[in-house]
Amino acid sequence: MPESTPNQPPLVRMSGITKRFGQVTVLRDVQFECRAGEVHVLAGENGAGKSTLIKILAGIHTDFEGRLEIDGREAHPRNPLQACALGVAVIHQELSLIGAMSVADNIFLGRTATRAGFVRAGEQQQSARRCVAQLGLDIDVRQAVEDFPAAIQQLIEIAKALSQDARVIVMDEPTSALNAPEAAKLFALIQSLKARGCAIVYITHKMEEIERIADRITVLRDGRWIGSAPAAELPAPKLIQWMVGRELGEQFPRRVPHPGRERLRLENFSVFPSGFSGRPSVTQISLSARAGEVVGIGGLQGSGASEFFLGLFGAYGSRTSGVVQLDGRSARFSSPRKAIASGVALLTNDRKATGLVLSMSVTANATLAGLRELSPCGWRNPARERAVAREITSPMRLRAPSLDAEAGTLSGGNQQKVALSKSLQTRPRLLLLDEPTRGIDVGAKREIYQLVDEWTAQGIAILLITSEMPELLTLSDRVVVLHRGRITAELSRSQATPGAVLAAAMGQVAKSL
Amino acid sequence: MHKQSIQILSVGFAFLAGLLAGCNRSNSDAAQANAARRYTIGMSQCNLGEPWRVQMNEDIRTAAAQHPELNVIFKDAQNDTLKQRSHIEELVSAKADLILISPKEAQPLTEPVARAMEAGIPVIVLDRALLGDKYTCFIGADNKKIGKAAGQWIVKKLGGKGRVVELMGLMTSIPGQDRHNGFREGIAGSGIEVIFEADMKWLEPEARKEMESALSRFDRIDLVYAHNDPGAHGAYLAAKAAGRENIVFVGIDALPQEGVAYVQQGILDATFRYPTGGAEAIDTALKILKGETVPKKIVLGTRLFDKSTVAGGGAAMP
């Protein structure tokens, strides 16, 4: 790897960066440097603050404390366009392309070549063609972006960033939709950018990528800067320890396991959200869960865990394959209705978008999934519904003005409790919890953990997704780790250490598999 | 599921297409049989939403049926001026022998008609006039005269004085304004007092609603003059429901199954025919095709249908 001249100031220097969103501090006194001609990997768990730091660099978050220097001069971009003018190009994780517009128009969005206000389409198209050719793409730049598959779209997004002739290029998980040869093309391009003297900030969860292209690595944890070092000094085990090592101060008491008969059995289960011709979110999952057991599903963003739950729950209809058995009976559901009727319940990871109907009352939300049972011949019984709602929310210790209050007026934590109540109200045999304590304070978390204990004592089998490592390790009897849709590790209670889980989540397949 | 629905859809479409093709085929068969006829007349109607225009086409059809050498092709512009323009252009390129047109608007259709005339095709304009004089003949009725005739009849009926409710058609349209102005002219100088007037937009439910308001406001109403028969009918139903049967009802249009029927059933006391001119159009067309000269403008008279004249097919008015 080419050395950069040590006397030059780093192309990007961020120091003392602190960013707050309301009461929550997301970044605390973070420092970061990136030199010209180097690939600097920014590593950390979910929620460590990497995306926020990048957004500050990209001019998306303009309200922060600390100092940002680009090319030796202090900079304070007020919007992405200004950041672009300063020489910073960002390839976002969520694609920023406009589907209905052509490839050429997208690449030059905001910098459209014009003459007296009229777009110089021919010129633009030629430049666009050159840009995408750099990535080995041979496509018609006049076609609309949405006509291309996700992988090509990601390459177009990359081409867009590269076309800006920036000196600092930030890539946030750029290979999430790419296959191996496409990713290889990208890495080759990164090498040529390095040779040109660009600084590349690279965010990824994949250990194999870090090992392949990183020159230096900076680790963030819980919004704080942990350390920066050349890649040679940071082999995988040490890197993981940096990412994960925390004083487990909040020691929640570990669960008492109550394992019973096998409740759920999956063999080669795959989920295809966009149809069988598209990419599967999870492939060939085989696992089993017993009654009264909590199986934790570990994985970082992009692992496919949430889609796995949705597929199990029937939310993708019949776009799943493989064998699913619930208490010995075949259970590949084609709709959430059927899943609920068979005793499966799902708590989604986004209560506002997919969990609750915020315009309805607490009672209405809590009784929604089980309404069919509660209303024989279709006629509702408001008194019975209220009684059921009271019964199901009291163990949650819900704090709401009344059960008739609109769910949208409750605090986030209380909303989460209502969503949990809805899942439990149908008396499920299998409970799928996706981030059950998102947005809940510490005291309430304890209450939820106790409830999980009670639920398993009642014989419910639980699959649990959580991005908080302590929670995963406290609650799970076993941990199954996913990476890019496949199981990379199955860890027993004793084997499940933070390091082992994170290593598997980043792609290092456990030797036992 | 999706595949099945596509299959069902395609079968449905195929069926529909076959049906339409079948229809077209039978039309062209008829056209071939008609090829033996000598003259082709193209008729462009601005819309077939109004029953009156449906009646006009009916009248033309009935009159043409008497003359087997005539083949009339009907086109419906669905109230779209641009469609009507293309009707004219189509008829010109198809080399029709004569064009009948009941235009939607004067301005946009004057030019195409002039060009048809230049191509040597005579054009008869019905009901609504065009600008200028580049057409062969205009046949239409005079709403102002009809309104005045109605006013005069009302003066006679009420013995020179009385309280009248006027239910107006869309006052942004020429017929509405003409029937209003003509009526006011007809009652000028008499003791007839218009105590309530409202725009019922030619619609029966609106007329009924306005009449209910008038009934609740005025204890004595002698007569209701509505700009069209549906309006008069709506007013009648309102009065009947209120038990105020001794009101005289007068309408305009006198379609056989509507206004005339109402008079025969005793619902209306009088209605004035707004003639469609369909029969006159065919007569004039025949004359033109035979090479005779025809007057530039033929103003159709109206006919009064009231209790005494309805059996005899109405009384012609000057």
């Binding site: 729950f313 939310a315 709709s335 959430p336 209705r337 899943a339 609920i340 009727a341 799902l346 989604t348 978008a353 997919t354 969990g355 609750l356 109907v357 915020l358 315009s359 309805m360 209405a364 929604l368 999934a369 309404l371 069919r372 509660l374 209303s375 279709g378 006629w379 509702r380 809805k422 | 629905s5 077939l48 939403g49 029953p51 449906v54 006052m171 309530f196 409202a198 725009d199 937009k201 029966e204 439910p205 009924r208 609603k209 306005e210 209910e212 308001s213 609740s216 406001r217 009918h233 709506g234 139903l237 429901a241 209120a242 038990g243 056989p256 199954q257 509507e258 029927a261 025969q264 059933q265």
Partner: protein
């Protein structure tokens, strides 16, 4: 949160006024007050005027009942006006020309309306076509069917014989039964029919699980789906119900005109939507109810009547009605953060 003494709860009347029902009631009372002031020589205070106001608003009100269900589920139904025409034409043909008895005419008409609604509902729910487009297509289709079934002319008591002359048949008992007054001439039958429609819709919405499903779908369709709500079926039934109420309206329209007019109902869908919206049901879906719609029906009905008895010229009516609709909706906007 500090433990300082909490603020006293606001007085009950303030809470009521802040609610959607309170504001709709306020709008209605303001309109009534305007009527009392501009009472057209006392005409506003006569019982007959109120009976007539209710009569003329009833057909729109029936449409508003179905429209409320559809809007709460997050959709819209533009086809109801055309369905009114279609059922008016079919009912007139059946009752007047073919002499069918009432117990055959009524169910047949209801089936026609419900079928039209169900088709729009399935197109929008199962094939995921936007409700605006699906019901716009039905609007055109049903209007075309109405014109086709009627031959372009009104289906009236004047029946044409083979030789071209006309014979006059009696107005069928069904029509006379619908268009007459009861309670000593102080209440129109169509108003009673409207109240029945309103009551049925109210019961379904507030007491049946289908009603709860509609609120959930309109509030957050994906959350509803993931909670096991049968989204497609519930939505399709909402549109079928809208078509059913439009059929009832069509029967009443035919009875009140004593004929089936294929041009009837033009623009009625917009009046129905205005009534629902002024009542306070949100066009976004998930909120609202029949009580609010009743207030909206009365508000627009009385406004129309007051303009009518005062013989306000047409241009003025249009301007005033438009201004009042906008004002009513603006005062209803909830103060969200």
């Amino acid at each position: 949160m500090n433990a300082a003494s909490p603020a006293p709860p606001p007085p009950a009347w303030k809470i009521f006024l802040a609610s959607a029902g309170g504001r709709a009631l306020l709008a209605l009372l303001l309109v009534m007050a305007a009527g009392a002031v501009f009472n057209a020589d006392g005409a506003f205070f006569k019982i007959g005027t109120h009976r007539d106001t209710l009569r003329q608003a009833s057909v729109y009100g029936m449409l508003a009942c179905g429209m409320t269900l559809v809007i709460i589920s997050g959709g819209i139904d533009l086809a109801v006006g055309s369905v009114v025409a279609l059922t008016a034409v079919c009912a007139a043909k059946m009752a007047v020309h073919w002499n069918w008895p009432a117990w055959e005419v009524v169910p047949a008409s209801l089936v026609i309306g419900a079928a039209c609604g169900m088709v729009s509902g399935l197109i929008t729910a199962a094939w995921r076509v936007q409700p605006f487009i699906a019901t716009l297509a039905m609007m055109v289709f049903a209007r075309g069917l109405a014109k086709y079934a009627s031959g372009g002319m009104k289906v009236s008591t004047a029946v044409q014989n083979a030789d071209g002359s006309y014979r006059y048949v009696d107005v069928p008992a069904l029509f006379r039964g619908i268009d007459h007054r009861i309670l000593g001439g102080n209440l129109s039958m169509v108003t009673v029919i409207f109240i029945i429609c309103l009551a049925l819709a109210w019961v379904a919405l507030s007491r049946h699980r289908w009603g709860r499903y509609l609120y959930a779908i309109g509030g957050n369709e994906e959350a509803a789906r993931l909670s096991g709500v049968p989204v497609i079926g519930a939505k399709a039934c909402a549109y079928a119900a809208s078509g059913l109420f439009a059929a009832v309206a069509g029967l009443c329209q035919a009875a009140q005109e004593q004929q089936g007019d294929p041009e009837a109902g033009a623009g009625y869908e917009l009046v129905a939507i205005a009534m629902v919206v002024i009542g306070g049901t949100s066009l976004m879906g998930g909120r609202g109810g029949m009580g609010l719609t009743l207030l909206g029906v009365l508000t627009i009905g009385y406004l129309d009547k007051i303009l009518s008895i005062n013989a306000v010229p047409e241009a003025g009516r249009l301007v005033l009605t438009g201004v009042i609709i906008v004002a009513a909706v603006m005062t209803q906007r909830r103060n969200r953060k």
